[in-house]
Amino acid sequence: MSISYSSVTKKIWMSLMGFFLMTFLIVHLSINLLLVISPTTDLFNEASHFMGTNPFIQAFQWILFAGFIVHIIIGVVLQIENWMARPKGYRVKAGSEDSFFSKYMIHTGVIIFIFLIIHFVNFFLVAKGVIGEIPETMVDGKPMDDMGSVVIALFQLPYYMVGYLVALLILGFHLDHGFQSAFQSLGLNHPTYTPFIKGFGHFFAVIIAAAFMIIPLFIYFSK
């Protein structure tokens, strides 16, 4: 399928899906941060309940899965083509580049993918009732799944918390290159705005990774 698409088309899809997944990260992060800003898990449980039951979100999650799949498949295809383009490498490796993490997109990508599967098993499938049991709680008199307690229980395991921190750090590396690269692939380059986009890309990567990392640290040391 993908072979028939040109290299530029594949990169355009890669960047569109990248942007899409970045917006997902922002939404996901906003909900997670409810665990930090609120003294109880009620707000988080309400948000989880909304995400788990709202019909629009339920339909949209399939588009999100598709986004992940397209981004992953095209990414792997691009990488295989890239390896094939240089069957014999150099003895003295080239070191010139402007975007350091661009060289490790497949490596960081694979780690994020593994993290995603673990994350999916530990949270998504639990929330859907496929795996394990979720305790019930009452929020404003309504019975709800207590996803907050599931999160807190996992983040109190030191190895889980450290693994999560490492995965999110790697996600930050992936975003550091991905943000500005997505603009370039879409042809959005401008003498005035591109330096800002590059700078903002670093900022975005740091903020997203750091904000996600605060949550397990907060839970581990405060609950």
């Binding site: 240089r86 080239a94 070191g95």
Partner: protein, 246 residues
């Protein structure tokens, strides 16, 4: 100055190659890199050995024939110069210099350090030209062209097609070369007419030849002897997207 050279020697396109060590002595620091290789070759010929094959022509940095991957960098340790314009004063006395050919599937090694870069010609043949009738030579300034576009087209046209971008790219991608050739025409009125077909045909040919994809690492821009900007790649992506959608 004295240097230890590690040079890729490969008798022919299908033969196996290997690195061979050579020693050159009393090289002037004002000699060019190619002159240093000329001196080595003279010694080899005098000894009855096969001289090292490498591409070169004008030796003025404008023809795009010289190549060489020197100590991990296309065209060596200096910035914005071709190998023929690289001087030995950029190296230290006693230094070991590793010289490799461009490495990319579409650039097969012909002999030693010479590679076949006709893949670039094929990309140009796919659409890197203007085929509409543009009439006789118009009066100067009779076709209005924005100064900015004239400058950008001129900058893109500075590409000499040496292939350093492909050599430097971790994916052996030809995006900088192709985008420079797409840009120099797309920015000018005569080239605009066929811009949509051109970008699609040239990208298709580039892919077909087996060049890698662009990861936006920008090593190409860093190593280009003519300092072609990666903004050309963005322009080509834009041209391609518009061509596909309209």
């Amino acid at each position: 100055m004295d240097l230890k050279l590690k040079i890729w020697r490969q008798p022919s396109a299908h033969a196996d190659g290997k690195f061979v060590d050579y020693q050159v002595t009393k090289i002037s620091k004002d000699a060019s890199f190619l002159e240093m290789l000329d001196i080595l070759n003279e010694e080899l010929v005098n000894k009855g050995e096969d001289p090292v094959a490498f591409d070169h022509d004008c030796r003025e940095g404008i023809c795009g024939m010289c190549s060489l991957f020197i100590n991990g960098r296309p065209h060596g340790p200096d910035n914005a110069v071709t190998t023929c314009q690289l001087h030995m004063r950029k190296f230290k006395d006693g230094e070991t210099v590793t010289i490799e050919p461009w490495r990319a599937k579409p650039f097969p090694v012909l002999k030693d350090l010479m590679v076949d870069r006709s893949a670039f010609d094929e990309i140009i043949q796919a659409g890197g030209f203007v085929s509409i009738a543009t009439g006789g030579v118009p009066d100067a300034n009779s076709i209005p062209i924005r100064k900015q576009n004239a400058d950008l087209a001129m900058d893109a046209a500075a590409c000499i097609g040496c292939g350093a971008c492909v050599a430097a790219c971790k994916n052996a991608s030809a995006m900088l070369f192709v985008s420079a050739k797409v840009s120099q025409l797309a920015l000018l009125p005569q080239g605009k007419v066929e811009a949509k077909e051109r970008v699609q045909k040239m990208v298709a040919k580039m892919d077909e030849l087996g060049f890698g994809n662009c990861t936006n690492t920008y090593a190409c821009e860093a190593e280009c002897p003519k300092e072609i900007s990666v903004t050309n790649i963005a322009r080509m992506n834009r041209e391609f997207l518009v061509a596909k959608l309209s």
